[in-house]
Symmetry: C3
Subunit: 211 residues, 3 copies
Amino acid sequence: MQGDLRVDEALNFLLVGDLVGVAVFAASGASAAVAKRLDLFGVALVGFVAALGGGILRDLVIGAVPPLAFADWRYAVTAVLASIAVFWLHPQLNRLRRTVLLLDAAGLGLFTVTGTLKALDAGVPPVGACLIGMLTAIGGGLARDLLTGEIPVVLQRDIYAIVALGGAILVTIMREIGLSGPGPMALGAVLITGLRLLALYRRWSAPIAVP
Amino acid sequence: MQGDLRVDEALNFLLVGDLVGVAVFAASGASAAVAKRLDLFGVALVGFVAALGGGILRDLVIGAVPPLAFADWRYAVTAVLASIAVFWLHPQLNRLRRTVLLLDAAGLGLFTVTGTLKALDAGVPPVGACLIGMLTAIGGGLARDLLTGEIPVVLQRDIYAIVALGGAILVTIMREIGLSGPGPMALGAVLITGLRLLALYRRWSAPIAVP
Amino acid sequence: MQGDLRVDEALNFLLVGDLVGVAVFAASGASAAVAKRLDLFGVALVGFVAALGGGILRDLVIGAVPPLAFADWRYAVTAVLASIAVFWLHPQLNRLRRTVLLLDAAGLGLFTVTGTLKALDAGVPPVGACLIGMLTAIGGGLARDLLTGEIPVVLQRDIYAIVALGGAILVTIMREIGLSGPGPMALGAVLITGLRLLALYRRWSAPIAVP
């Protein structure tokens, strides 16, 4: 139906999707830092890394240097503002726990789509592009947990990484069959987000090795 | 005696050496993840990072983007299959502890050789190429330990990193004097592996600072 | 007054500044590793990462591969010699705690200046260059703390990262108005170092979020 890529629109979609994801993941990093009693600058730094770590890794492996996080000031400013907002507002955020989980799922969907598309556009083969899409989505959370001294939650709460990987495969197939316009891709992000929320709601979990 | 580099053979040697190393290190990462009670996907992810983290770092610093781990699907598939195998077979693996140590030593030898050669081929000067060869060999284990919340064992069980560094220096000298064919390099990998096993067997250790 | 850049002098300034910073940060990493009872090679490795991790990250994001740490043998040798010196001399170093803090502040000033200048020279826009300058200065310390199993001190002792960020902004402005010669830049490094020492002396600290 759609399929034809209007370049400006597509770029805008990537940018807006990215920035919303940045704000959401910065908020998740800042929340973790506040919980560890880090001060204002520690909170901003963990928020920055949680929001932009996945994208920096993505840009390094596809050879897009300097990474967007450094080339476009809007990324860093979005991450820092979202972190500072959490620093001041976090008591209210506790009451908004559901909202945070919803936003985190949205960030997962958005980063998976933009990460996979960027890797494919850079000429990475499909399997690699799917891995890069997944790492873009989970990389920031990994870095956040390492910085705050935790075993990464993504390694334990598995129906997170696997949703990102499944979403990256979906995006790759959609692009292969020509459905790479903003509309279909937005739909892909919504699907990934929905699957993550369903996994949360139904408490889906993966097997643990028998001892 | 040999010294003349038949390119196809050399490439095949690098590929097979790399993939065996990938499987072995994936198994070591997956074992650590199983021990931490991570679930199937966490085990696969730690296995992936342990197997491919060193090579990704190597490719980033020599400017080979996208890194092989993403450019060639056989790397990721090998790492994930080896991790899943450990997930299902790990009770048997406990009885195979000696085999695992042997395979880990083989991985150390193989990654040191391929990492150092790739760095030299990319035009990195000798000292840097030796460091890159060592980091290729120990990088995955470092990442594995960081992800599972441990102080990296390579920092404590020193006769590991230093064997890799010594091996990288040997490879650099061999290449300098023209012994860079598959045969001599396979011999180099065997020497490094043997030295590591000797260090294990003799319980060699390095000095700790006097308090 | 000055402003005209004599290239050789400037390069020498960058090199000497970098190497002094490398030695200082290697010493800080080695001290942390000695305190964790790591052995000689673990101490050398943590010293290497603490000294060169920030610069490797900087070179990767500005696309300067292989990073200086691998391209120029003087960097690695300086880091390893400084680490070994700490390994042997550390009981005396305890009495030199003030000296270590002074040197660490000097390293902060030097790395901020060289990191920011290199990013600007590579064509990174101002906001990104300031972030890269700051990350160059704090990246090694971050890696040191992750390797030794600590929550990074830079996230808690905030008047460290923010001094680097302020210094990077100062360097960017100075370069914009033509004050990019060795003299003004050395002055910038002294200012950043002085501010860090003042923050230590006055025990400045940043706010923590209200619970």
